[in-house]
């Protein structure tokens, strides 16, 4: 539970993960922002107006998945690194994930890395599709993972590297 150990519960996620219908239509943002903190860069970031702040900046952002095309601009902007993009239409049994990453060394496109879940546990491997370095120094990693892992994977570890 977030308040106890920093991990979102299945119920928390239920509300933000894309519906089966939305999954079929391609890449979409997953906004794992569960707390009312005064913050609105995601709304400023979205070029399609898919993210809005209802009345004031202390509320949680309101997300319209129908307007979202999964471009991932918000992934790099969210100060809490709490936005991810998932694209289940990427391959037969493969999903594409875009995650924010702020560690060094960076992996390279084509690398195989260890996929980690929200608790940092290894859940399989991921292939790095693209390394999108940004001016604001939050790198966006494009990862190919099995579709079954896509809702679980939120971080990576370079092969052979043990961080914690």
């Amino acid at each position: 539970m977030l308040a106890i150990d920093g991990t979102a519960t299945a119920e928390d996620l239920q509300a933000v993960l894309p519906t089966p219908d939305r999954r079929r239509r391609g890449a979409v943002a997953v906004i794992e922002c569960f707390q009312e903190i005064p913050c609105n860069p995601c709304a400023d970031a979205c070029p399609r107006g898919a993210i809005t702040m209802p009345e004031n900046i202390s509320q949680r952002p309101v997300f319209d998945p129908d307007k979202c095309n999964g471009c991932g601009v918000c992934v790099g902007r969210c100060p809490g690194l709490a936005i991810f993009v998932v694209d289940y239409s990427y391959g037969e049994d493969t999903a594409l994930l875009k995650i924010p990453y702020e560690f060094r060394p960076l992996p390279q496109a084509g690398d195989s890395v260890t996929a980690l879940d929200r608790q940092g546990a290894a859940v399989g491997s991921a292939r790095v599709v693209k390394v999108q370095e940004q001016k604001n120094r939050t790198t966006i990693l494009w990862l190919a993972v099995t579709a079954a892992m896509a809702t679980a994977v939120r971080n990576i570890r370079l092969s052979g590297e043990v961080r914690a």
Binding site: A3, P38, R118
Partner: protein, 362 residues
């Protein structure tokens, strides 16, 4: 003795913002900062800030510091002294300052105290071993000087500072064994907690330190669980073999100068300890002394910047400096501050502020 319109003490977010806005009104400002560089805690912050665009949301703390420093540099009315520590405020209105190794005296017409806060300590056996640091020290070493404090660190405190510095340790290549927190819930933003959690760092709420170990320096820490009355539960000890222990157990406002000025103070736990009574212009019960930022109550840097603006505008206005947009500017900043404090996470701060708000206007 030098006469100055406004002396701002502290070159952190509140002080920088206060200086800029007081100078924009036309007041002469002397800005004092005790360390070598301006920016206060901002310069150690590697994460992107929350808030809205007005408070530089999405920018990293040290980048915000540079933006503010540029604004300072553009103001001819501001003189900046670094390595300058305010030593005392005396009954005759004289402020004494140590600059480098020189003693200086001033008689400021208005004083804006933006001294920030200092870290609280924690009492446990061997809490003085080398390898045990305040979170600020760890940030200074890593983020200002690029030196690792230890190889493997245990973090105490899951408030924002604890979880943020734990993440910074990971970024610096330091292993973080765990974050422990005495309270039953994580006090910091959940998004920050989730960032370290997905790196595999356990967050143990309801845990405290029983004892640190080591003869010449830290070699380990025994941690145990707390019951709902905050007493240690026997038989729940866990030993963490670490060479670093980082304490992030809260801040208390640095109010010495306010006590010396004779400002009326009140103990407000929600704001970190003793804080001054103030009116809506951030003016204390001493008519020449204004406050802004953590010294007025421990809060986020974004709020500190807006408070600095309000205090800077108000102090300059009180010295008869005027601009056409003063009233509009002031109102907008008030609204900005209210917006920042509108969420449920600010309820505690707002509750605390009610205990030190003076009603009468300037």
């Amino acid at each position: 003795m030098k006469e100055v319109d406004i002396v701002v003490i502290g070159g952190g977010p509140a002080g920088l913002s206060a200086a800029v806005h007081a100078a924009k009104m036309g007041a002469g400002v002397l800005l004092l900062e005790r360390s070598q560089a301006l920016g206060g805690q901002l310069v150690k912050q590697t994460h992107k800030f929350f808030g809205s665009r007005q408070e530089f949301a999405g920018e990293r703390g040290f980048d915000i510091a540079h933006t503010l420093m540029e604004q300072i540099a553009q103001q001819e009315k501001i003189e900046v002294w670094t390595n300058a520590t305010a030593l005392g405020y005396y009954p005759d209105g004289v402020l004494t300052v140590k600059r480098n190794e020189n003693f200086r005296t001033f008689r400021p017409r208005k004083l804006i105290v933006a001294t920030g806060a200092s870290e609280k300590a924690l009492a446990f056996p061997n809490n003085d071993l080398p390898g045990i640091y305040g979170a600020g020290a760890v940030q200074t070493l890593m983020n200002l000087y690029g030196v690792m404090p230890a190889k493997r660190v245990l973090m105490v405190g899951a408030g924002n500072i604890g979880v943020i510095v734990a993440y910074q340790l990971l970024q610096a290549g330091v292993e973080v064994a765990a974050v422990i927190e005495a309270a039953p819930r994580i006090g910091g933003y959940w998004v920050h907690a989730s960032k370290i959690r997905r790196c595999g760092v356990p967050i143990l709420t309801g845990h405290t330190i029983r004892q640190a170990h080591g003869t010449t320096q830290l070699t380990g820490v025994t941690v145990c669980r707390l019951d709902e009355k905050w007493t240690m539960i026997p038989g729940t000890d866990t030993l963490f073999e670490v060479d670093g222990l980082c304490l992030a157990v809260g801040l208390s406002p640095l109010t010495e100068l306010l006590w010396q000025a004779g400002c009326k103070m009140n103990f407000v736990p929600e704001l970190g300890g003793y804080v001054p009574w103030r009116n809506e212009y951030l003016q204390t019960t001493h008519k020449n002394v204004y406050v802004a930022g953590d010294v007025a109550g421990v809060e986020e840097a974004s709020a500190a910047m807006v408070e600095g603006k309000l205090a800077g505008l108000a102090a300059a206005f009180a010295l008869n400096h005027q601009t056409a947009d003063f009233a509009a500017d002031y109102r907008a900043a008030k609204q900005q501050l209210n917006a920042l404090r509108s969420g449920p996470l600010s309820a505690k701060v707002c509750h605390g502020l009610c205990k030190v708000m003076l009603e009468e206007a300037m």
